[in-house]
Structures are given as structure tokens and as C-alpha cells.
Symmetry: C3
Subunit: 152 residues, 3 copies
């Protein structure tokens, strides 16, 4: 089964890949690995903003992390990397916009992690770090990725 | 000398590898590198919590960073990677739970860095970034790693 | 044209590579990639300190990020890696010392990104993550890097 079919079966439509908000590129490939820039969460075309611990619910945080993961896939595709070439999601770096007292970053980050496993199965199981930070544009979550690819 | 002997000589007993607190895996290997997920500090089985700058001493921070490094080794072993295959500790990413006014993240992070050099000698000398962040479960330190392995 | 000539044409003089503020090394090479430790901003030999959102201007933030990028190049050279071997700047990790309300980390980070493109042209275009954090020694910015190298 192709990943396109799998996305379709899951009812997932990838977003338009967002333009970088600055002077860098969304994806660089080196040595068989794709390095994907930190992606912000867009749902229905709107940036999800806020800070965990002062308003957004855990569900909203999880949905934002999932949206970041979808944008990672959209960026790979937008950079000409067919998703069927994904051999392994190697590493996700998850930054959660957090008040000093919010400590459930792992639960939020699961929104991204679970999406990868839904889409890629065992190949979607990755290493991860998840921390609280202060985020660009007041985004609720930012996720970057390292992805192992099979030869084109 | 094997690393097992070296650990024994140093009086170091690796902890039980902690289960991921979320839906990811502790170690992914790709292209000869092992990517180890961010590890939290456990000492005598208990998570070390707190925030540098409002209670914990520098010594406690250093001990917590060292505990994260030990957990990285335990996770490698738990994932079936013999520690004798470590060719180089390539990179540590150190996140220190910090108040806005705490600026000694490098001293805290040395707890992890020094442990790697103690155990692996020159092969333990690594690149590193160390920053203050807000951490999961109020952990005092989180450390992730990239490790170069010789073929199994 | 060599990178040395290019730097000269741009009027750029690399700084002295700063000694690590702790027990790690500035550069580790593995599998054709150089991992450069998080670099702090030095301008005229002095560390640039402060926190975006409570004093420093955007221009000062950008200049600090650029100084971090120059230090990355200085560290590569100091580690014996000729800059002409740079095939691609693969990834920059940018940490901006930020108050909770500062959200222009991407604009600050562009100081580092733009420098890489000035020096290396298309090979300088990289993936990037940029977040706000609490930084060592109250530095205004910290940047680490992954750089693809051609064989020595």
C-alpha cells in the first residue's frame, strides 16, 4: 500500500506546505537523511497560537502537535521527496510553548508521534526529545524531524 | 578493556532503562548513528525534579545531568546496542530546567559530558549544545544523544 | 573561488575560535557530517548578552546570531576542517534568549541564516529550527550546526 493510499484511508489531507518564515529551506537531504526545519501548527490554514498552561487544553495541544507532523510530511512532499521513500522517522524534536509550570510536554508531543505511527506503521516509531520553550509567532508547538529515506 | 569492565572499575551500575513516557522509542539507529531520545534523570529509581535557580544546588544539577547520561547508556544497552560498539559520542543536547536568571547551564551539563569521557575516554568527547528550558514532569535535566556505532 | 577569498571579498574576518566553556569539544565529525557545538555570540571579543524582549533591539539580535554563525565557521577551521570542504550547511539549531512575550525568533535567527548564504551561496541554504530559551552566561543567542563535508 502506498502512503498516499494510507493517508486517504485515514482521511488525512496534507496541508499546503507553509513557506519558511525566514531565510532557510524546509528540507535538506544529506547522507540518506532528510532534515526537516521546525514546523509550526496550521489547522484549516490558521496558525495555532497560545501557551500550554494558560489557556489551551491538552486536546488542543495534541491537535497542534499533530498539525506540525502533518506539515512535516507536506514539506517533504513539497521538496520532491515521495513519502513512499520514508524508511524510518528517525527523530522528532518537539518544542511546546509552555508556562514555567506546565510539565505535560510528552502528552502534547504524542500528537506528532502518534500521527507518524498511524501513517508509517513501525517505520514511524522514532526517537524524540520534547521540551518547553518560547515559540516563534506565539505558535503552540514546533516540531522538526530527521527522516531516513530509501534511494530515489 | 570492555566497557562493562570499565563501568565496573568506575563503580558505575547502569539504571534500568526507563520506559518512554509517551509514544516513541528510546533508540533509533540509522546510517551507523544511534539517536537516543531525551532522557530524564533517575537516581535510585526516583525522578530528580526542580528548577535550577530556585532550590537545587549546582551539585544536584550536575548529578542529575550525569544520571541522564547513565540512562542514555542504559537505553542503548536496552535496545540491544552493545556499549563496546560505541565509536564516538557525537553530540549531546542538554536541556536544563532553569529560571530566567539561571545562566550556568554549561556547568550543569558537564555532569553528562564528564561521564561520557570517564566511560569512553577520547571516544566520549562530543559536540554539545546546552540551553535552559521548561521540562517534562518538572525534571531537572533532559539529555538526548547521537552516537556513532561500529558495525554489529 | 575559495571560501577564504569569498570571506575576504565580503570583508569578513573570522573570530578566534572560543574555547568551550565546559568539557566537550567544538566539532565532531562522523559519517561525512560535522556536528558543531552550540556557539555563543562574540563581537570584538566580547560576549553579547541580554534577552530579546527586554532591551536588545532586533538589529542587535540579528547581529548576535550572525556572530554565532561566524563562530561556527571559526570552529570548523580551528578543528582543521577547511571551509572549502563544506558541501552543504545542513541544519542550524537557533536558540534565542527571549522573554515569554518575544515571538520574533525567526527574524533574529536570520542573522545566522543569511550569513551562511552570503558565504556559501546555495550550499549555505539549510534546514533550521528557531526557538526561545534561557541561555548560558546570559548570551543573547546560541546556534549549533550540522555541516556536510566533502572528503578531506
Amino acid at each position: 500500500m502506498t502512503i498516499a493510499t494510507r493517508l486517504c484511508d485515514l482521511g488525512i489531507v496534507l496541508p499546503q506546505p507553509a513557506a519558511p518564515v525566514a531565510s532557510y529551506v524546509p528540507v535538506v537531504t544529506a547522507g540518506g537523511l532528510a532534515y526537516v526545519s521546525g514546523q509550526l501548527p496550521f489547522i484549516d490554514g490558521a496558525l495555532v497560537t497560545g501557551r500550554m498552561g494558560e489557556g489551551p487544553t491538552l486536546e488542543q495541544g495534541i491537535a497542534a502537535a499533530r498539525a506540525c507532523a502533518l506539515m512535516i510530511l507536506a514539506q517533504l512532499q513539497g521538496a520532491g521527496v515521495a513519502l513512499d521513500r520514508v524508511e524510518r522517522i528517525v527523530k522528532l524534536g518537539v518544542f511546546v510553548n509552555s508556562t514555567p509550570d506546565f510539565t505535560d510536554q510528552p502528552k502534547v508531543a504524542n500528537g506528532a508521534s502518534d500521527l507518524m505511527v498511524e501513517v508509517f506503521g513501525p517505520a514511524g516509531r522514532h526517537a524524540r526529545s520534547a521540551v518547553g520553550a518560547i515559540l516563534p509567532l506565539a505558535a503552540l508547538v514546533e516540531v522538526d524531524a530527521i527522516v531516513a529515506l530509501s534511494p530515489a
